[in-house]
């Protein structure tokens, strides 16, 4: 454990005055050590639509060392929805390229780069140069492949998407993710100088805290998506399972089959297909179609900007936590339903 937390990845260990001033309010929250680890981290972000733009903003503001924006698609009117980094006159340009200027201006201290290749075309070692990888708008197969590739090398893997009013994020921080939590110090009570000269002993000293080291393990994306619902234990937990998990399965299948997400201008045919896929997917899992009522099709097209903000905020913070090795990470899904305004963290996969 001591080894895993020993050195921040930063090349130089000194925080400049400029950084101290700019990051003051967050250093006061997560501490200088966490900030240094962020400062030494390189992140790959795939997909620069609404959710991607939010994650990019959050990571750049947090002060990572470098962020690579990867996207092979071109800007369209639809893709500019919920995307505040792309200028209005950039239709036809590459999405990542068009986002670069504004992204860089968010924080000149971060190295923001662009890659216009399709992520499917990237070889394994491309991913190894990063400390964390965040995949949006990717096919299930690609996400499974990258997850398998990275998790074993202690590269943190994150996936996320926004479909209309719904969104999710997933994380795989590997078999052994080490982190610290700050807890109030339990003071035994002594006569030594402490934060108060009272004769009475105080159990918990409100002014002193201590760092507690912890370890947690994650399962792969493949395992998380291939839960066996036919056994009794899984069946009994169905009542408490968010419908969003099944919605995700449906949308990932749509993406695989059609090579794109549901589009507003093909609403009629896409919604038919979604219902069909819903039936197929749930049947394959041995589950009832009632788990995902028909109404879902009305609310999973395009990206809702506020939903991108919520999911992007949670996802961004999870990446910050994982890179800084501070505070308990979510394990392993976060689902957000923008219609209800409810968000839950839930676990799927092997124990």
């Amino acid at each position: 454990l001591a080894l895993a937390l020993s050195r921040p990845r930063g090349e130089d260990n000194i925080i400049s005055e400029e950084e101290a001033a700019q990051y003051d309010r967050q250093i006061r929250l997560w501490g200088l050590d966490a900030q240094k680890r962020l400062r030494g981290s390189r992140v790959l972000l795939v997909g620069l639509r609404g959710l991607g733009a939010e994650v990019a903003k959050n990571l750049i503001l947090a002060g990572v060392k470098g962020l690579t924006l990867l996207d092979h698609e071109q800007v369209t009117e639809e893709s500019r929805r919920a995307q505040f980094l792309i200028p209005v006159d950039a239709d036809g340009q590459n999405q990542a390229q068009a986002s670069l200027e504004r992204a860089q201006l968010l924080n000149p201290m971060v190295e923001v780069k662009v890659d216009t290749d399709a992520v499917e075309s990237k070889l394994d070692d491309f991913f190894f140069r990063f400390d964390a990888v965040c995949l949006t708008r990717c096919s299930k197969d690609l996400m499974v492949r990258v997850d398998q590739l990275c998790a074993s090398r202690n590269i943190k893997v994150f996936c996320g998407d926004v479909y209309g009013y719904h969104g999710y994020m997933f994380s795989d921080l590997g078999q052994e993710h080490h982190y610290v939590e700050e807890k109030p110090k339990v003071v035994k009570g002594s006569n030594e100088a402490n934060d108060g000269p009272e004769a009475k002993k105080r159990k918990v000293d409100p002014n002193e805290t201590t760092m507690v080291k912890k370890t947690i393990s994650f399962c792969s994306l493949k395992e998380a998506l291939e839960v066996d619902w036919t056994n009794e234990k899984a069946k009994s937990s169905l009542k408490r399972t968010p419908a969003d998990y099944f919605l995700l399965q449906v949308l990932l299948k749509f993406r695989t089959d059609k090579g794109r997400d549901p589009q507003p201008d093909s609403f009629a045919e896409d919604s038919q297909l979604l219902l069909q896929i819903r039936d197929d997917v749930l049947e394959t899992m041995g589950l009832s179609s009632e788990l995902l009522p028909n109404t879902f099709v009305s609310y999973c097209f395009s990206e809702m900007a506020p939903v991108c903000a919520v999911v992007g905020g949670v996802l961004g913070q999870e990446i910050v936590k994982a890179l800084s090795q501070r505070d308990a990470p979510h394990r392993n899904f976060f689902f957000f339903d923008g219609l209800k305004g409810s968000g839950v963290v839930d676990y799927f996969g092997s124990k």
């Binding site: 101290a20 700019q22 309010r25 967050q26 250093i27 006061r28 929250l29 997560w30 939010e54 903003k57 503001l61 947090a62 505040f84 200028p87 201006l105 968010l106 924080n107 100088a193 402490n194 934060d195 000269p197 009272e198 004769a199 409100p206 002014n207 937990s237 408490r240 009629a268 919604s271 038919q272 219902l275 028909n294 109404t295 099709v297 009305s298 395009s302 990206e303 900007a305 506020p306 939903v307 991108c308 903000a309 919520v310 992007g312 905020g313 949670v314 961004g316 913070q317 308990a328 979510h330 394990r331 392993n332 923008g338 209800k340 305004g341 409810s342 968000g343 839950v344 963290v345 676990y347």
Partner: protein, 597 residues
């Protein structure tokens, strides 16, 4: 299979909703952490007519989260720059920006009636109260929100449908009794408050409620009334503690740092020692002597190594030198300003901050407390609330989602949403404990106020006896717990109850704390404190939200008429209230608070 028919979509929205967004007018109060995120969300969602107001200017410490601002904008109006930045990615938006205070009487009820919706993105109680009242008067829905650290909350306020912002009493500012500040500090915050008072007494506006000298009228000090009288007389003769104001005295010495030091940290302390009753159960303070300190081998100030310079904790010699340097600098500032000049304390003014750091630490040392770094003192003295982009992003997203429900007139869908630790977004829905007697009598409810009347009753008042059964329902988890009540004569002394039996079956638990899944009904146990919640009132369930940060030099000037208020209690953030009040406020308004979990 039947497809639900829908009018055409405009992106993710039904066309009717998209159209109503196009025509409605909304007001955003505040263009800071929440405000920037909110403006972005509003225009991207399709709101066209937006007005934004903020009295503040941009500071470098804003740039880690207020993403509409860049370094080159420091010093400029937040509202103005926010508007310009938003227009760059949404040129068709119709935005009006006001660099002004919302409490300015120009923004009257008629002004508020122009809008279909008002959204607060504020950081102080006074403005929130004000907007709350204006919205009630104008009968306009208001979305209230706040963040601090990792936590946040969104609430909808609509006259006649929900309670208003002021309906629930809010925790008040933590205050300290005068004698604690002047005679018997026991925590660093007491010393810091003392140091801020000292600053005002020496360099700023003197306030009778901000005395720093020993308090001879301390009820704890008197062995008997005759003694107290004797003390009071003695003090008049002893060093003119009462007769001459601190400032006059300091002036008479030419603001000599050595004389100041010896009075504050030696003479006054020795005086306190004569009040021996105070020290019967407390560790007595240890006076410092300037000459002695100079003679101690001064340890080289260590290279700050890999830490922030400000996070170093110096020794007594270090803080003594800092005391001297800052007094000399402040003295020069006074001289420069001329006759009758007064300085205003500002956490971002280095000598002012140095002075408080030094004076507070010297006092901490006198009273045997561990000294604090400038970084930590600044947090406490300046009421700094740690803040990050992501929390604000989430909360601002939730605000817009509530806004859409309001525009759809779906008020019954509106929820108070809390962002708690582990990102569980808890919509407040009830948690009940009721007797399993089929009558539905609810004993304990998580809905505020619903079962207050039961708090002091006995179980037997409800007919509960040995063998009765209680049912606890958690609707969000769809989870029910049955509790059998069994009477026992054999509990340990002072133990009122004991829980026995097998742990109930839970949903598959992640190894992250299970508490994230509970409905956080204000249950203190379920929220992990943010790491900097050191100023929190201990029993506080209430979330966050008011910062009232001490002003930096970049904010607008406080209006002069706010400066003569007298108050009984010693509040940690006295000066900040002066900044925020740009018009007359009644003298007994509640102070803004920091309420953290």
């Amino acid at each position: 299979t039947e497809v639900p028919t829908m009018a055409q979509l405009v992106g993710p929205l039904r066309k009717e909703l998209a159209d109503s967004l196009f025509s409605c007018r909304v007001l955003v109060v505040g263009a800071g952490g929440i405000g920037c995120e909110l403006l972005k969300n509003l225009v991207l969602t399709g709101f066209k007519n937006i007005e934004v107001i903020d009295l503040d200017t941009i500071d470098v410490s804003n740039l880690n989260r207020q993403f509409l601002f860049q370094k080159k904008h420091v010093g400029k109006s937040k509202a103005q720059v926010a508007k310009e930045s938003v227009l760059r990615f949404c040129p068709s938006a119709n935005i009006t920006a006001y660099h002004d205070s919302i409490m300015n009487p120009d923004y009257n009820v008629e002004f508020f009636r122009n809008f279909q919706l008002v959204m607060n993105a504020l950081d102080n109680r006074a403005a929130r109260n004000h907007v709350n009242r204006m919205c009630l008067a104008a009968d306009i829905p208001l979305i209230e929100s706040g963040t601090a650290g990792y936590l946040g909350q969104v609430t909808v306020i609509k006259k006649g449908q929900t309670e208003c912002y002021e309906c629930q009493p809010k925790p008040t500012q933590k205050t300290f009794p005068g004698c604690t500040i002047r005679n018997t500090p026991s925590e660093p915050i007491h010393c810091i408050v003392w140091a801020k008072y000292l600053f005002n007494q020496l360099f700023g506006e003197e306030d009778a409620d901000q005395e720093v000298s020993p308090d001879t009228a301390d009820p704890e000090a008197a062995w008997n009334p005759a003694d107290a009288a004797a003390r009071a007389t003695a003090s008049d003769q002893d060093g003119d503690i009462k007769r001459v104001s601190t400032k006059e005295w300091a002036r008479s010495t030419g603001y000599d740092p050595v004389k100041l030091f010896n009075k504050l940290f030696k003479d006054d302390i020795m005086y306190l020692l004569t009040m021996d009753k105070l020290w019967k159960k407390r560790k007595a303070p240890l006076p410092l002597d300037w000459t002695e300190i100079q003679q101690i081998e001064s340890s080289q100030e260590e290279a700050c190594g890999t830490g922030l310079k400000d996070q170093q904790v110096l020794g007594v010699q270090g803080y003594t030198q800092l005391f001297r340097r800052s007094v000399e600098t402040l003295r020069s500032q006074l001289i420069e300003k001329g006759e009758g000049a007064e300085l205003v304390w500002d956490k971002d003014d280095p000598p002012a901050m140095d002075f408080v750091t030094a004076a507070a630490n010297l006092r901490m040392n006198v009273f045997s407390m561990n000294m604090k770094s400038r970084f930590d003192v600044k947090s406490m003295a300046g009421n700094i609330i740690p803040a990050i982009a992501t929390t604000n992003a989430v909360i601002a997203g939730l605000i817009v989602l509530e806004a859409l429900k309001i525009l759809n007139s779906d008020f019954d869908q509106c929820r108070t949403v809390s962002l708690r630790s582990q990102s569980n977004l808890m919509c407040t829905r009830p948690l009940y404990v009721q007797i399993e007697d089929g009558k539905g009598t609810i004993l304990i409810s998580s809905e505020e106020g619903e079962t207050e009347a039961n708090n002091n009753k006995f179980l037997s008042d409800f007919g509960i006896r040995n063998g009765s059964r209680l049912q606890a329902d958690d609707f969000l988890q769809d989870y029910t717990l049955l509790v059998n009540v069994i009477h026992s004569e054999e509990l340990e002394k002072d133990v009122e109850f004991e829980v026995v039996g097998d742990a109930p079956d839970k949903a598959p638990a992640p190894s992250a704390p299970e508490e994230g899944k509970n409905i956080a009904n204000g249950n203190k146990d379920s929220a992990q404190p943010s790491t900097s919640s050191k100023a929190a009132a201990e029993d506080d369930d209430v979330l966050i939200i008011d910062s009232d940060e001490e002003p930096s030099s970049s904010t607008m000037e406080a209006s002069p008429e706010s400066s003569n208020r007298k108050r009984k209690h010693h509040d940690a953030d006295d000066a900040a209230s002066k900044r925020k009040r740009l018009d007359q406020q009644p003298a007994d308004d509640d102070e803004d608070i920091i309420a953290l979990d």
